[in-house]
Symmetry: C2
Subunit: 410 residues, 2 copies
């Protein structure tokens, strides 16, 4: 007996996927970012010796989301330890009220501006940069540019003696957090970029040397793929406000990477949702627990917040019934809230696929791990889906129409 | 011939739905909030005459999301016109780092604290309140309570001579923005609460008197219902950072109201997503355009930002190609970005159901309309789904487990 398969696709084994990922590792730049020697960046930035107390990043999407995720996670700790060197602000939107609101928070004379655009011609970024240029004098003393080597923004920088840091061509915006895009502002702000990369390397090694993460990542990605038409939504439920930026970064990474027309001309796509605990226990949780079974949920907990703020052991007349929370650390309370929510789903709603990620502490090393873990997971799911994980052709249509509208207008 | 239908459900006509909504209007409190006489609230607050420059709201979920939505929408305008009387801050999370970060932004001696909890025993709210009570002396001069009349929090207030404002029993948290929950802090901050209610009344009248909105709301709700198993995700794409709070409010309203077990014992639920333009053109848009056809998208535009910030008409060496944006108002640019995105979907992706809401300007009247429009829409979709739109039994399981964990611990 003979059976020839003329399928456009055949099912891929874990080994097939691993082989393809290893192959793509040679071309796709983000895989090698954790191995970059940071001494060049650091010495260049040390020599530039910017004195400003504030950094305004002008960028959008992949140019800011990763930096914001890390900054949002670590900022309060750095402030507490007084090791935050510069505060970061982000100019992303063309909303004029928001633009002026952000400007109002800055002392423009004491601000270092960093313009970040991979293509160098991002319309939001250049529009805002032009406006800011008209209200504050920009020169090599208060301006840095991060872009591709042959972009128009790079030509501008060269013509005006502005220092530039390169974004490699083969590193996509949403995978660029560990390139100069993130490293330059984060180093200037006082973060330990070597620990960040060390965390990412730890994940990379564990997967590529087929250690612990190898099976887990493949199993997780395969589950997302196999059940994509049942569970078309992948929620992350992060139990800390410090992960708000991470949630937003995840939404771009997951949505923009996996929402694609596949090799079989079918619209594929898993929808990311970012939730924060315990706040969203009072919002989205009801939908998870009793709503349609169309979501997977990944809970994220920080094991040790290293903070001893306690609920005061006081009795309030009328509220004596709540004295059972007296004396509890907030760090314990928030994690017990996570545990209780997880337990209620795990034990009583067995048709909701959940998993738990525990972060040891609030550090560069730990957030580096988390970011790279999600980048790898995205790549693997993309392979299962037979899509190009790294392009974004769907947003070009709107850009072309906008350009026509603007040219007609002016 | 005879055909007896023994269906658990029969299809509901628009008239059936309207009849049921009119009937529920007698019991469900939010419908009558736009008609409340605000003179009592205003004169009580005027007499209390709080002098503090800052307000800290301690609450979570429905106790804060609506107020934040309105505040976020109008704050910058009020700041610009110097009519913002008090700045608002929100204590929602039990995350200790975030808690201390919010405290650091406040001058505690110049802060009015408003504790909001419908049940009066919300664990996050009482925990944070206890902690704040231990670091700043609370009394009738710097504390207000908003809660149900017979709650334990109300007993606390009565025992300590603290002024209270009532949350009616038949107004659910996520539908409470136009009750004292929103009106008290917003009036104190300097917002025109009468205009807010006037906007809501306008929507209410148009629907209940079967004018323009009657057909539109029913058609929209019916479409969501009929296609719920194809388009199980309803995204809102708001073209202004000022609508960030509105998006979050919408997510609670939609998710917590519609994620329910229906009368036929089936898990129902439409999943809300909140997006911001143009930022999310660089994130989620790719997934909308090329991803799985499982989303409806509602674009929201602000017709007139009343702001004349312009892109400076300067030529940057190397970036001359982008001079076509020179001299453009940012308010025009952001709306052209919305138009271009809408056009690209509408013309080339006809299998994505989209609709457009235009807000005239940034005012109390307009946001009042928008909020009430979404409350009504939620109620109507809930009727089609045969669910109880106003309860949230799914979150009780976790609360019970948490209480057990905490009691075991202490």
């Amino acid at each position: 007996m003979k059976n020839n398969l003329y399928y456009p696709f055949v099912s891929l084994s874990d080994e097939d996927i691993f082989t393809e990922i290893k192959k793509e590792r040679e071309d796709i730049g983000y895989y090698s970012l954790p191995y970059v020697d940071t001494s060049v960046i650091k010495s260049r930035l040390d020599n530039l010796d910017f004195k400003q107390k504030q950094i305004a990043i002008i960028g959008i999407g992949g140019s800011t989301l990763g930096t914001y995720a890390i900054y949002n996670f670590l900022k309060y700790n750095k402030q507490r330890n007084k090791t935050l060197k510069k505060e970061l602000f982000f100019f992303e939107s063309t909303d004029p009220i928001n633009l002026n609101g952000t400007i109002a928070q800055l002392n423009l004379e004491d601000t270092l501006f960093i313009v970040i655009s991979k293509s160098g011609t991002t319309i939001e970024t250049i529009s805002i940069f032009k406006y800011l240029s008209s209200i504050v004098k920009m020169n090599s003393q208060n301006l840095l540019v991060i872009t591709e080597d042959d972009s128009k923004l790079n030509s501008f920088a060269a013509a005006n003696g502005i220092s530039t840091f390169e974004i490699p061509k083969n590193v996509g915006g949403r995978f660029s957090v560990l390139s100069n895009v993130g490293l330059v502002p984060l180093y200037l702000a006082g973060f330990d970029i070597d620990e960040l990369l060390k965390g990412a390397r730890k994940i990379s090694t564990s997967f590529f040397e087929q250690n612990e993460l190898y099976n887990q990542l493949l199993k997780k990605a395969r589950t997302y793929y196999e059940y994509k038409d049942v569970y078309n939504i992948n929620a992350i439920f992060s139990y800390s406000q410090l992960l708000e930026g991470f949630n937003k970064w995840y939404i771009q990474l997951w949505g923009e990477s996996l929402g694609k027309i596949d090799a079989n001309n079918t619209n594929q796509g898993l929808t990311p949702i970012g939730l924060l605990g315990p706040v969203d226990q009072h919002s989205f949780l009801q939908l998870i627990v009793e709503g349609k079974r169309d979501k997977t949920v990944t809970f994220i907990k920080i094991k040790d917040f290293k903070d001893d703020t306690k609920i005061a052991p006081i009795t309030l007349e009328g509220l004596e019934d709540l004295d059972y929370i007296n004396g509890l650390n907030f760090k314990e309370l928030i994690n017990l809230q996570a545990d209780a929510t997880i337990a209620s789903v795990k034990e009583y709603k067995k048709d909701i696929p959940i998993d738990l990620i525990e972060i040891e502490e609030i550090s560069e090393f730990e957030i580096g791990k988390l970011l790279f873990y999600y980048e790898l997971l995205t790549s693997i799911v993309g392979k299962f889906l037979r899509i190009n994980t790294y392009d974004q052709p769907g947003v070009e249509g709107g850009k072309i129409i906008l350009k026509e509208m603007l040219k007609k207008k002016n």
